[in-house]
Protein backbone atom coordinates (compact mmCIF):
# COMPACT_ATOMS: atom_id res chain seq x y z
CA UNK A 1 0.00 0.00 0.00
CA UNK A 2 1.43 3.40 -0.94
CA UNK A 3 1.24 6.37 1.40
CA UNK A 4 -1.54 7.82 -0.74
CA UNK A 5 -3.50 4.62 -0.49
CA UNK A 6 -2.97 4.43 3.26
CA UNK A 7 -4.04 8.03 3.76
CA UNK A 8 -7.14 7.37 1.61
CA UNK A 9 -8.08 4.27 3.57
CA UNK A 10 -7.51 6.11 6.87
CA UNK A 11 -9.97 8.79 5.86
CA UNK A 12 -12.51 6.14 5.03
CA UNK A 13 -11.93 4.28 8.25
CA UNK A 14 -12.41 7.53 10.16
CA UNK A 15 -15.64 8.32 8.28
CA UNK A 16 -14.17 11.34 6.55
CA UNK A 17 -15.91 11.78 3.18
CA UNK A 18 -13.91 11.54 0.00
CA UNK A 19 -14.55 14.59 -2.19
CA UNK A 20 -14.16 14.98 -5.98
CA UNK A 21 -10.78 16.74 -5.79
CA UNK A 22 -9.27 14.22 -3.38
CA UNK A 23 -6.94 11.56 -4.61
CA UNK A 24 -8.64 8.17 -4.93
CA UNK A 25 -7.64 4.77 -6.28
CA UNK A 26 -8.59 4.19 -9.87
CA UNK A 27 -10.64 1.14 -8.90
CA UNK A 28 -12.57 3.12 -6.31
CA UNK A 29 -13.41 5.66 -8.97
CA UNK A 30 -14.41 3.01 -11.48
CA UNK A 31 -16.49 1.09 -9.00
CA UNK A 32 -18.27 4.25 -7.97
CA UNK A 33 -18.91 5.31 -11.55
CA UNK A 34 -20.40 1.91 -12.23
CA UNK A 35 -22.52 1.92 -9.09
CA UNK A 36 -23.74 5.52 -9.25
CA UNK A 37 -24.25 5.29 -13.01
CA UNK A 38 -26.31 2.14 -12.68
CA UNK A 39 -28.29 3.75 -9.94
CA UNK A 40 -28.96 6.77 -12.15
CA UNK A 41 -29.95 4.55 -15.07
CA UNK A 42 -32.32 2.68 -12.78
CA UNK A 43 -34.11 5.89 -11.89
CA UNK A 44 -34.51 6.75 -15.55
CA UNK A 45 -35.56 3.30 -16.76
CA UNK A 46 -37.71 3.04 -13.64
CA UNK A 47 -39.98 5.70 -15.12
CA UNK A 48 -41.18 3.22 -17.72
CA UNK A 49 -43.01 0.54 -15.72
CA UNK A 50 -44.81 3.21 -13.72
CA UNK A 51 -45.35 5.39 -16.76
CA UNK A 52 -47.13 2.39 -18.26
CA UNK A 53 -50.06 3.14 -15.93
CA UNK A 54 -50.09 6.94 -15.91
CA UNK A 55 -52.57 7.08 -18.77
CA UNK A 56 -54.76 4.54 -16.98
CA UNK A 57 -54.59 5.88 -13.42
CA UNK A 58 -58.08 5.42 -12.00
CA UNK A 59 -58.57 8.83 -10.36
CA UNK A 60 -57.22 12.33 -10.80
CA UNK A 61 -55.58 12.09 -7.39
CA UNK A 62 -53.83 8.83 -8.28
CA UNK A 63 -52.72 10.25 -11.60
CA UNK A 64 -51.27 13.29 -9.83
CA UNK A 65 -49.48 11.14 -7.23
CA UNK A 66 -48.01 8.92 -9.92
CA UNK A 67 -46.90 11.89 -12.03
CA UNK A 68 -45.23 13.47 -9.02
CA UNK A 69 -43.47 10.22 -8.26
CA UNK A 70 -42.20 9.68 -11.78
CA UNK A 71 -41.06 13.28 -11.83
CA UNK A 72 -39.12 12.70 -8.61
CA UNK A 73 -37.47 9.67 -10.13
CA UNK A 74 -36.30 11.64 -13.13
CA UNK A 75 -35.00 14.17 -10.62
CA UNK A 76 -33.08 11.45 -8.78
CA UNK A 77 -31.61 10.44 -12.08
CA UNK A 78 -30.35 13.99 -12.48
CA UNK A 79 -28.75 14.17 -8.99
CA UNK A 80 -27.07 10.85 -9.54
CA UNK A 81 -25.74 11.66 -12.99
CA UNK A 82 -24.36 14.85 -11.45
CA UNK A 83 -22.71 12.86 -8.66
CA UNK A 84 -21.22 10.52 -11.26
CA UNK A 85 -19.98 13.48 -13.29
CA UNK A 86 -17.87 14.63 -10.33
CA UNK A 87 -15.86 11.46 -10.98
CA UNK A 88 -14.92 12.56 -14.48
CA UNK A 89 -17.52 10.99 -16.78
CA UNK A 90 -20.22 12.80 -18.71
CA UNK A 91 -23.89 12.00 -18.58
CA UNK A 92 -23.93 11.42 -22.34
CA UNK A 93 -21.13 8.91 -22.00
CA UNK A 94 -23.03 7.02 -19.30
CA UNK A 95 -26.19 7.03 -21.40
CA UNK A 96 -24.25 5.67 -24.34
CA UNK A 97 -22.85 2.85 -22.22
CA UNK A 98 -26.38 2.01 -21.12
CA UNK A 99 -27.71 1.95 -24.66
CA UNK A 100 -24.84 -0.23 -25.84
CA UNK A 101 -25.48 -2.70 -23.06
CA UNK A 102 -22.17 -1.96 -21.31
CA UNK A 103 -23.95 -0.68 -18.23
CA UNK A 104 -26.92 -2.12 -16.41
CA UNK A 105 -29.88 -0.82 -14.49
CA UNK A 106 -31.75 -2.49 -11.68
CA UNK A 107 -33.20 -5.78 -12.90
CA UNK A 108 -36.47 -5.13 -11.15
CA UNK A 109 -37.45 -2.77 -13.96
CA UNK A 110 -37.34 -5.64 -16.40
CA UNK A 111 -40.54 -6.94 -14.86
CA UNK A 112 -43.86 -5.69 -16.20
CA UNK A 113 -46.56 -3.73 -14.42
CA UNK A 114 -49.69 -5.70 -15.26
CA UNK A 115 -52.44 -4.37 -13.06
CA UNK A 116 -53.07 -1.20 -11.12
CA UNK A 117 -52.02 -2.78 -7.84
CA UNK A 118 -48.53 -3.14 -9.31
CA UNK A 119 -48.21 0.62 -9.00
CA UNK A 120 -48.85 0.40 -5.29
CA UNK A 121 -46.64 -2.65 -5.02
CA UNK A 122 -43.78 -0.96 -6.82
CA UNK A 123 -43.88 1.85 -4.28
CA UNK A 124 -44.26 -0.47 -1.34
CA UNK A 125 -41.88 -3.30 -2.29
CA UNK A 126 -39.49 -1.88 -4.87
CA UNK A 127 -39.04 1.54 -3.31
CA UNK A 128 -39.11 -0.16 0.07
CA UNK A 129 -36.22 -2.37 -0.93
CA UNK A 130 -34.41 0.53 -2.59
CA UNK A 131 -34.64 2.58 0.58
CA UNK A 132 -33.07 -0.14 2.67
CA UNK A 133 -30.14 -0.03 0.29
CA UNK A 134 -30.11 3.72 0.16
CA UNK A 135 -30.40 4.42 3.87
CA UNK A 136 -27.25 2.38 4.29
CA UNK A 137 -25.65 4.32 1.43
CA UNK A 138 -26.21 7.65 3.16
CA UNK A 139 -23.07 6.67 5.06
CA UNK A 140 -21.13 5.81 1.93
CA UNK A 141 -17.62 7.20 1.76
CA UNK A 142 -17.95 9.33 -1.37
CA UNK A 143 -19.29 12.75 -0.42
CA UNK A 144 -21.42 13.65 -3.48
CA UNK A 145 -22.96 10.18 -3.55
CA UNK A 146 -23.69 10.25 0.16
CA UNK A 147 -25.34 13.67 -0.07
CA UNK A 148 -27.39 12.61 -3.12
CA UNK A 149 -28.57 9.62 -1.10
CA UNK A 150 -29.69 11.77 1.82
CA UNK A 151 -31.79 13.85 -0.51
CA UNK A 152 -33.16 10.87 -2.43
CA UNK A 153 -33.99 8.87 0.69
CA UNK A 154 -36.39 11.49 1.92
CA UNK A 155 -38.40 11.38 -1.28
CA UNK A 156 -38.18 7.63 -1.61
CA UNK A 157 -39.62 6.98 1.82
CA UNK A 158 -42.46 9.27 0.91
CA UNK A 159 -43.00 7.17 -2.21
CA UNK A 160 -42.87 3.95 -0.25
CA UNK A 161 -45.50 5.25 2.15
CA UNK A 162 -47.70 6.36 -0.76
CA UNK A 163 -47.24 2.96 -2.35
CA UNK A 164 -48.29 1.24 0.81
CA UNK A 165 -51.39 3.42 1.01
CA UNK A 166 -52.22 2.58 -2.59
CA UNK A 167 -51.89 -1.15 -2.01
CA UNK A 168 -53.96 -0.83 1.19
CA UNK A 169 -56.79 0.61 -0.87
CA UNK A 170 -56.55 -2.41 -3.12
CA UNK A 171 -56.12 -5.03 -0.41
CA UNK A 172 -59.06 -3.62 1.55
CA UNK A 173 -61.11 -2.92 -1.58
CA UNK A 174 -63.43 -5.08 -3.66
CA UNK A 175 -62.61 -8.77 -4.19
CA UNK A 176 -61.27 -7.92 -7.65
CA UNK A 177 -59.02 -5.25 -6.17
CA UNK A 178 -57.78 -7.61 -3.49
CA UNK A 179 -57.03 -10.15 -6.18
CA UNK A 180 -54.98 -7.53 -8.04
CA UNK A 181 -53.02 -6.79 -4.88
CA UNK A 182 -52.31 -10.48 -4.33
CA UNK A 183 -51.31 -10.95 -7.96
CA UNK A 184 -48.94 -7.98 -7.75
CA UNK A 185 -47.39 -9.25 -4.53
CA UNK A 186 -46.92 -12.74 -5.93
CA UNK A 187 -45.22 -11.49 -9.06
CA UNK A 188 -43.04 -8.83 -7.46
CA UNK A 189 -41.92 -10.59 -4.27
CA UNK A 190 -38.98 -12.58 -5.56
CA UNK A 191 -37.80 -9.90 -7.98
CA UNK A 192 -37.79 -7.51 -5.02
CA UNK A 193 -35.61 -9.92 -3.02
CA UNK A 194 -33.25 -10.04 -5.98
CA UNK A 195 -32.79 -6.27 -5.78
CA UNK A 196 -30.21 -6.78 -3.02
CA UNK A 197 -28.02 -8.75 -5.37
CA UNK A 198 -26.71 -12.29 -5.16
CA UNK A 199 -25.97 -13.94 -1.87
CA UNK A 200 -22.83 -12.62 -0.18
CA UNK A 201 -20.95 -15.76 -1.01
CA UNK A 202 -21.60 -15.23 -4.75
CA UNK A 203 -21.24 -11.47 -4.87
CA UNK A 204 -18.30 -10.39 -6.98
CA UNK A 205 -17.67 -6.86 -5.90
CA UNK A 206 -18.67 -6.97 -2.26
CA UNK A 207 -15.54 -7.32 -0.16
CA UNK A 208 -13.52 -4.42 -1.56
CA UNK A 209 -16.67 -2.27 -1.72
CA UNK A 210 -17.28 -2.90 1.97
CA UNK A 211 -13.71 -1.88 2.83
CA UNK A 212 -14.14 1.31 0.81
CA UNK A 213 -17.56 1.91 2.37
CA UNK A 214 -19.10 2.08 -1.07
CA UNK A 215 -21.21 -0.69 0.30
CA UNK A 216 -22.09 -0.48 3.95
CA UNK A 217 -24.02 -3.68 4.61
CA UNK A 218 -23.92 -7.05 2.89
CA UNK A 219 -26.54 -8.12 0.40
CA UNK A 220 -27.86 -10.81 2.71
CA UNK A 221 -28.12 -8.48 5.70
CA UNK A 222 -30.13 -5.99 3.67
CA UNK A 223 -32.35 -8.70 2.21
CA UNK A 224 -33.11 -10.07 5.67
CA UNK A 225 -33.96 -6.56 6.85
CA UNK A 226 -36.39 -6.18 3.95
CA UNK A 227 -38.11 -9.50 4.65
CA UNK A 228 -38.40 -8.76 8.35
CA UNK A 229 -39.94 -5.39 7.65
CA UNK A 230 -42.30 -6.53 4.91
CA UNK A 231 -43.82 -9.77 6.20
CA UNK A 232 -45.81 -8.04 8.97
CA UNK A 233 -47.07 -5.56 6.39
CA UNK A 234 -48.29 -8.39 4.18
CA UNK A 235 -50.08 -9.86 7.17
CA UNK A 236 -51.62 -6.51 8.05
CA UNK A 237 -52.91 -6.23 4.48
CA UNK A 238 -54.57 -9.62 4.84
CA UNK A 239 -52.79 -10.95 1.79
CA UNK A 240 -51.43 -14.48 1.46
CA UNK A 241 -47.69 -14.81 1.87
CA UNK A 242 -46.09 -15.00 -1.58
CA UNK A 243 -43.68 -17.70 -0.38
CA UNK A 244 -44.78 -20.71 1.64
CA UNK A 245 -41.25 -20.85 3.04
CA UNK A 246 -41.75 -17.71 5.10
CA UNK A 247 -41.77 -18.58 8.81
CA UNK A 248 -40.63 -16.81 11.93
CA UNK A 249 -37.41 -18.27 13.23
CA UNK A 250 -37.45 -17.87 17.02
CA UNK A 251 -33.80 -18.63 17.34
CA UNK A 252 -32.52 -16.18 14.74
CA UNK A 253 -35.26 -13.71 15.58
CA UNK A 254 -35.68 -13.27 11.87
CA UNK A 255 -38.02 -14.61 9.22
CA UNK A 256 -36.80 -17.58 7.24
CA UNK A 257 -37.67 -17.40 3.56
CA UNK A 258 -37.06 -19.13 0.27
CA UNK A 259 -34.15 -17.91 -1.74
CA UNK A 260 -35.14 -16.38 -5.08
CA UNK A 261 -34.39 -18.35 -8.22
CA UNK A 262 -30.93 -17.05 -9.02
CA UNK A 263 -31.00 -18.64 -12.44
CA UNK A 264 -33.85 -16.30 -13.27
CA UNK A 265 -31.82 -13.42 -11.86
CA UNK A 266 -28.85 -14.19 -14.08
CA UNK A 267 -31.16 -14.74 -17.05
CA UNK A 268 -32.61 -11.28 -16.55
CA UNK A 269 -29.12 -9.81 -16.18
CA UNK A 270 -28.18 -11.39 -19.50
CA UNK A 271 -31.06 -9.58 -21.15
CA UNK A 272 -33.72 -12.27 -20.98
CA UNK A 273 -36.06 -10.62 -18.50
CA UNK A 274 -39.67 -10.15 -19.53
CA UNK A 275 -39.10 -6.51 -20.47
CA UNK A 276 -35.38 -5.99 -21.15
CA UNK A 277 -35.88 -5.63 -24.87
CA UNK A 278 -38.85 -3.30 -24.56
CA UNK A 279 -37.19 -1.11 -21.94
CA UNK A 280 -34.04 -0.61 -23.95
CA UNK A 281 -36.00 -0.17 -27.16
CA UNK A 282 -38.07 2.55 -25.50
CA UNK A 283 -35.08 4.33 -24.04
CA UNK A 284 -33.05 4.17 -27.23
CA UNK A 285 -36.01 5.35 -29.27
CA UNK A 286 -36.49 8.27 -26.87
CA UNK A 287 -32.83 9.15 -27.22
CA UNK A 288 -32.63 8.73 -30.99
CA UNK A 289 -35.96 10.45 -31.69
CA UNK A 290 -34.78 13.30 -29.48
CA UNK A 291 -31.49 13.87 -31.28
CA UNK A 292 -32.94 16.67 -33.39
CA UNK A 293 -34.27 18.35 -30.26
CA UNK A 294 -30.92 18.28 -28.49
CA UNK A 295 -29.18 19.45 -31.65
CA UNK A 296 -31.71 22.21 -32.20
CA UNK A 297 -31.51 23.56 -28.67
CA UNK A 298 -27.72 23.42 -28.75
CA UNK A 299 -27.56 25.25 -32.06
CA UNK A 300 -29.85 27.93 -30.68
CA UNK A 301 -27.79 28.31 -27.52
CA UNK A 302 -24.66 28.77 -29.63
CA UNK A 303 -26.33 31.39 -31.80
CA UNK A 304 -27.40 33.26 -28.71
CA UNK A 305 -23.94 33.08 -27.18
CA UNK A 306 -22.36 34.24 -30.43
CA UNK A 307 -24.79 37.15 -30.63
CA UNK A 308 -23.93 38.09 -27.06
CA UNK A 309 -20.21 38.05 -27.79
CA UNK A 310 -20.72 40.06 -30.97
CA UNK A 311 -22.68 42.64 -29.01
CA UNK A 312 -19.98 43.07 -26.39
Amino acid sequence: MTDQEREFQDKIDNDIKIEPRDWMPEDYRKTLIRQIGQHAHSEVVGQLPEGNWITRAPTLERKAILLAKVQDEAGHGLYLYSAAETLGVTRDDLVERLHEGRMKYSSIFNYPTLNWADIGAVGWLVDGAAIINQVALQRTSYGPYSRAMVRICKEESFHARQGYHAIMKMAFGTPAQKKMAQDALNRLWFPSLMMFGPSDKDSVHSEQSMAWKIKVKTNDELRQQFVDQTVPQIEYLGLDLPDPGITWNEEREHYDFTDPDWNEFFDVLKGNGPCNTDRMRDRKAAWDDGQWVRDGLLAHARKKAAARVAAE
Binding site: Q47, I54, P58, L60, A74, G290, V293, R294, L297
Partner: protein, 255 residues
Protein backbone atom coordinates in the same frame (compact mmCIF):
# COMPACT_ATOMS: atom_id res chain seq x y z
CA UNK B 1 -74.24 41.98 -13.19
CA UNK B 2 -76.69 39.29 -14.19
CA UNK B 3 -77.03 36.34 -11.89
CA UNK B 4 -75.46 33.38 -13.52
CA UNK B 5 -77.45 30.50 -14.88
CA UNK B 6 -76.10 27.22 -13.49
CA UNK B 7 -76.40 25.41 -16.80
CA UNK B 8 -74.16 27.96 -18.44
CA UNK B 9 -71.74 28.01 -15.53
CA UNK B 10 -71.51 24.22 -15.65
CA UNK B 11 -70.70 24.32 -19.36
CA UNK B 12 -68.09 26.97 -18.75
CA UNK B 13 -66.45 24.93 -15.99
CA UNK B 14 -66.49 21.76 -18.08
CA UNK B 15 -64.82 23.58 -20.93
CA UNK B 16 -62.15 24.94 -18.65
CA UNK B 17 -61.62 21.69 -16.75
CA UNK B 18 -61.74 19.43 -19.79
CA UNK B 19 -59.07 21.52 -21.45
CA UNK B 20 -56.68 20.94 -18.58
CA UNK B 21 -57.73 17.30 -18.16
CA UNK B 22 -57.17 16.31 -21.75
CA UNK B 23 -54.02 18.33 -22.25
CA UNK B 24 -52.63 17.05 -18.95
CA UNK B 25 -53.39 13.52 -20.08
CA UNK B 26 -51.72 14.00 -23.44
CA UNK B 27 -48.62 15.47 -21.86
CA UNK B 28 -48.47 12.61 -19.36
CA UNK B 29 -48.19 10.17 -22.28
CA UNK B 30 -44.59 11.35 -22.67
CA UNK B 31 -43.53 9.94 -19.34
CA UNK B 32 -40.06 8.43 -19.68
CA UNK B 33 -39.78 9.13 -23.41
CA UNK B 34 -38.57 12.74 -23.60
CA UNK B 35 -35.43 13.70 -25.53
CA UNK B 36 -33.61 14.93 -22.39
CA UNK B 37 -34.08 14.02 -18.75
CA UNK B 38 -34.77 17.67 -17.91
CA UNK B 39 -37.66 17.55 -20.36
CA UNK B 40 -39.06 14.41 -18.76
CA UNK B 41 -39.17 16.39 -15.55
CA UNK B 42 -40.65 19.46 -17.15
CA UNK B 43 -43.35 17.52 -18.99
CA UNK B 44 -44.31 15.58 -15.87
CA UNK B 45 -44.46 18.87 -13.99
CA UNK B 46 -46.71 20.46 -16.61
CA UNK B 47 -49.00 17.44 -16.64
CA UNK B 48 -49.13 17.47 -12.86
CA UNK B 49 -50.11 21.14 -12.72
CA UNK B 50 -52.81 20.62 -15.33
CA UNK B 51 -54.25 17.59 -13.56
CA UNK B 52 -54.22 19.56 -10.31
CA UNK B 53 -56.15 22.37 -11.98
CA UNK B 54 -58.56 19.79 -13.38
CA UNK B 55 -59.36 18.56 -9.89
CA UNK B 56 -60.40 22.07 -8.94
CA UNK B 57 -62.34 22.97 -12.10
CA UNK B 58 -64.19 19.68 -12.36
CA UNK B 59 -64.71 19.58 -8.62
CA UNK B 60 -66.48 22.91 -8.84
CA UNK B 61 -68.33 21.75 -11.97
CA UNK B 62 -69.63 18.73 -10.10
CA UNK B 63 -70.90 20.96 -7.29
CA UNK B 64 -72.63 23.29 -9.71
CA UNK B 65 -74.17 20.31 -11.46
CA UNK B 66 -75.64 19.32 -8.09
CA UNK B 67 -76.13 15.66 -8.86
CA UNK B 68 -73.82 14.35 -6.18
CA UNK B 69 -71.01 13.60 -8.57
CA UNK B 70 -67.30 14.10 -8.07
CA UNK B 71 -64.56 15.48 -10.28
CA UNK B 72 -63.53 11.86 -10.88
CA UNK B 73 -67.02 10.94 -12.02
CA UNK B 74 -66.86 13.72 -14.57
CA UNK B 75 -63.39 12.79 -15.75
CA UNK B 76 -63.84 9.05 -15.89
CA UNK B 77 -67.49 8.37 -16.57
CA UNK B 78 -68.46 10.69 -19.40
CA UNK B 79 -68.21 9.55 -22.99
CA UNK B 80 -66.57 11.53 -25.77
CA UNK B 81 -69.62 13.62 -26.68
CA UNK B 82 -69.82 15.03 -23.18
CA UNK B 83 -66.31 16.43 -23.22
CA UNK B 84 -66.06 20.16 -23.81
CA UNK B 85 -62.35 20.69 -24.40
CA UNK B 86 -61.16 22.46 -27.53
CA UNK B 87 -59.92 20.14 -30.28
CA UNK B 88 -56.39 21.52 -29.99
CA UNK B 89 -55.67 19.74 -26.71
CA UNK B 90 -56.88 16.32 -27.85
CA UNK B 91 -54.64 16.19 -30.91
CA UNK B 92 -51.95 13.53 -30.73
CA UNK B 93 -48.53 14.35 -29.33
CA UNK B 94 -46.67 13.84 -32.58
CA UNK B 95 -42.99 14.51 -32.10
CA UNK B 96 -41.59 16.55 -29.23
CA UNK B 97 -41.80 19.69 -31.32
CA UNK B 98 -45.49 19.22 -32.02
CA UNK B 99 -46.14 18.59 -28.33
CA UNK B 100 -44.33 21.75 -27.31
CA UNK B 101 -45.95 23.81 -30.05
CA UNK B 102 -49.39 22.64 -28.94
CA UNK B 103 -48.39 23.44 -25.39
CA UNK B 104 -47.30 26.94 -26.27
CA UNK B 105 -50.39 27.69 -28.34
CA UNK B 106 -52.52 26.61 -25.40
CA UNK B 107 -50.35 28.17 -22.68
CA UNK B 108 -50.42 31.50 -24.48
CA UNK B 109 -54.23 31.50 -24.42
CA UNK B 110 -54.34 30.13 -20.89
CA UNK B 111 -51.96 32.81 -19.65
CA UNK B 112 -54.21 35.50 -21.08
CA UNK B 113 -57.51 33.99 -19.95
CA UNK B 114 -56.63 33.09 -16.37
CA UNK B 115 -55.76 36.57 -15.08
CA UNK B 116 -59.22 37.68 -16.25
CA UNK B 117 -60.87 34.82 -14.43
CA UNK B 118 -58.79 35.66 -11.38
CA UNK B 119 -60.48 39.05 -11.29
CA UNK B 120 -64.00 37.91 -12.07
CA UNK B 121 -67.11 37.93 -9.93
CA UNK B 122 -67.30 34.26 -9.02
CA UNK B 123 -65.28 33.63 -5.90
CA UNK B 124 -64.51 29.98 -6.61
CA UNK B 125 -63.51 30.65 -10.19
CA UNK B 126 -61.34 33.47 -8.92
CA UNK B 127 -59.58 31.28 -6.38
CA UNK B 128 -58.88 28.50 -8.80
CA UNK B 129 -57.65 30.90 -11.45
CA UNK B 130 -55.40 32.67 -8.96
CA UNK B 131 -53.71 29.40 -8.09
CA UNK B 132 -53.47 28.31 -11.72
CA UNK B 133 -52.16 31.58 -13.07
CA UNK B 134 -48.86 31.19 -11.24
CA UNK B 135 -48.29 27.74 -12.68
CA UNK B 136 -49.31 28.79 -16.14
CA UNK B 137 -47.05 31.82 -16.28
CA UNK B 138 -44.21 29.39 -15.76
CA UNK B 139 -45.59 27.01 -18.40
CA UNK B 140 -45.84 29.67 -21.07
CA UNK B 141 -42.39 30.98 -20.35
CA UNK B 142 -40.96 27.49 -20.71
CA UNK B 143 -42.92 26.44 -23.78
CA UNK B 144 -42.19 29.75 -25.51
CA UNK B 145 -38.48 29.31 -24.82
CA UNK B 146 -38.51 25.83 -26.26
CA UNK B 147 -40.45 26.90 -29.34
CA UNK B 148 -37.92 29.68 -29.89
CA UNK B 149 -34.97 27.37 -29.25
CA UNK B 150 -36.18 24.75 -31.69
CA UNK B 151 -37.58 27.18 -34.28
CA UNK B 152 -34.31 29.09 -34.33
CA UNK B 153 -32.15 25.95 -33.98
CA UNK B 154 -30.98 23.73 -36.80
CA UNK B 155 -32.51 23.49 -40.23
CA UNK B 156 -34.23 20.26 -39.23
CA UNK B 157 -35.61 21.59 -35.97
CA UNK B 158 -36.85 24.70 -37.77
CA UNK B 159 -38.64 22.62 -40.40
CA UNK B 160 -40.23 20.39 -37.80
CA UNK B 161 -41.47 23.33 -35.78
CA UNK B 162 -42.90 25.03 -38.85
CA UNK B 163 -44.70 21.81 -39.77
CA UNK B 164 -46.06 21.59 -36.22
CA UNK B 165 -47.29 25.17 -36.37
CA UNK B 166 -48.91 24.62 -39.77
CA UNK B 167 -50.66 21.50 -38.48
CA UNK B 168 -51.85 23.01 -35.23
CA UNK B 169 -52.70 26.56 -36.18
CA UNK B 170 -56.14 25.76 -37.68
CA UNK B 171 -57.13 24.55 -34.22
CA UNK B 172 -56.30 27.84 -32.52
CA UNK B 173 -59.42 29.68 -33.66
CA UNK B 174 -61.71 27.56 -31.52
CA UNK B 175 -60.17 29.09 -28.38
CA UNK B 176 -61.77 32.39 -29.38
CA UNK B 177 -65.23 31.19 -30.32
CA UNK B 178 -68.11 32.78 -28.44
CA UNK B 179 -71.59 31.43 -27.87
CA UNK B 180 -74.46 31.87 -25.44
CA UNK B 181 -72.48 30.22 -22.64
CA UNK B 182 -69.77 32.81 -23.04
CA UNK B 183 -72.34 35.56 -23.24
CA UNK B 184 -73.79 34.39 -19.92
CA UNK B 185 -70.30 34.44 -18.37
CA UNK B 186 -69.71 37.94 -19.66
CA UNK B 187 -73.08 39.10 -18.34
CA UNK B 188 -72.31 37.66 -14.93
CA UNK B 189 -68.81 39.15 -14.95
CA UNK B 190 -67.22 35.74 -14.48
CA UNK B 191 -65.21 35.50 -17.67
CA UNK B 192 -64.39 37.71 -20.64
CA UNK B 193 -65.70 37.16 -24.13
CA UNK B 194 -63.10 34.80 -25.65
CA UNK B 195 -63.17 36.78 -28.88
CA UNK B 196 -61.94 39.84 -26.99
CA UNK B 197 -58.65 38.08 -26.17
CA UNK B 198 -57.62 37.45 -29.73
CA UNK B 199 -55.58 40.59 -30.30
CA UNK B 200 -53.49 40.09 -27.22
CA UNK B 201 -53.01 36.44 -28.17
CA UNK B 202 -51.98 37.25 -31.71
CA UNK B 203 -49.48 39.77 -30.42
CA UNK B 204 -47.93 37.28 -27.99
CA UNK B 205 -47.83 34.44 -30.50
CA UNK B 206 -46.49 36.81 -33.13
CA UNK B 207 -43.63 37.92 -30.88
CA UNK B 208 -42.62 34.38 -30.01
CA UNK B 209 -42.88 33.11 -33.58
CA UNK B 210 -40.79 35.98 -34.79
CA UNK B 211 -38.02 35.08 -32.35
CA UNK B 212 -38.48 31.48 -33.38
CA UNK B 213 -38.13 32.52 -37.05
CA UNK B 214 -41.43 30.74 -37.75
CA UNK B 215 -44.23 31.94 -39.99
CA UNK B 216 -47.74 32.07 -38.61
CA UNK B 217 -49.97 30.56 -41.31
CA UNK B 218 -52.35 32.78 -43.21
CA UNK B 219 -56.00 32.04 -43.35
CA UNK B 220 -58.65 32.21 -40.75
CA UNK B 221 -60.06 28.73 -41.12
CA UNK B 222 -60.74 27.20 -37.71
CA UNK B 223 -61.62 23.65 -36.82
CA UNK B 224 -64.22 23.55 -34.10
CA UNK B 225 -66.72 21.30 -32.40
CA UNK B 226 -64.86 20.46 -29.21
CA UNK B 227 -66.07 23.12 -26.82
CA UNK B 228 -69.68 22.52 -27.85
CA UNK B 229 -69.15 18.74 -27.96
CA UNK B 230 -70.72 18.63 -31.41
CA UNK B 231 -67.80 17.01 -33.15
CA UNK B 232 -64.55 15.98 -31.51
CA UNK B 233 -61.73 14.36 -33.43
CA UNK B 234 -61.33 10.60 -33.70
CA UNK B 235 -58.32 10.91 -31.41
CA UNK B 236 -60.34 11.67 -28.28
CA UNK B 237 -62.11 8.32 -28.23
CA UNK B 238 -58.83 6.44 -28.07
CA UNK B 239 -57.55 8.68 -25.32
CA UNK B 240 -60.72 8.17 -23.32
CA UNK B 241 -60.72 4.38 -23.69
CA UNK B 242 -57.30 4.29 -22.08
CA UNK B 243 -57.94 6.98 -19.47
CA UNK B 244 -61.23 5.54 -18.26
CA UNK B 245 -60.32 1.87 -18.46
CA UNK B 246 -60.17 1.05 -14.75
CA UNK B 247 -63.21 3.04 -13.77
CA UNK B 248 -65.20 1.41 -16.54
CA UNK B 249 -63.97 -2.11 -15.89
CA UNK B 250 -64.35 -1.94 -12.11
CA UNK B 251 -67.20 0.47 -11.45
CA UNK B 252 -67.90 1.57 -7.92
CA UNK B 253 -64.45 0.78 -6.54
CA UNK B 254 -62.40 3.10 -4.38
CA UNK B 255 -58.87 3.67 -5.49
Amino acid sequence: MAEVDNTALLQFLLRTGDNTLILGHRVSEWCGHAPILEEDIALANTALDLIGQTQLWLGYAAEVQGMGKSADDLAFLRDVWDFRNVLLVELPNGDFGQTLMRQFLFDAWHSIMLPRLAKGTDERVREIAQKAVKEVSYHVERSADTVVGLGDGTEESHARMQAALDYLYPYVGELFESDEVDAAMVDAGIAPDPASLRDEYDALVGRVMEKATLTVPDGSFAHKGGRTGRMHTEHLGHLVSSMQWLQRAYPGSEW
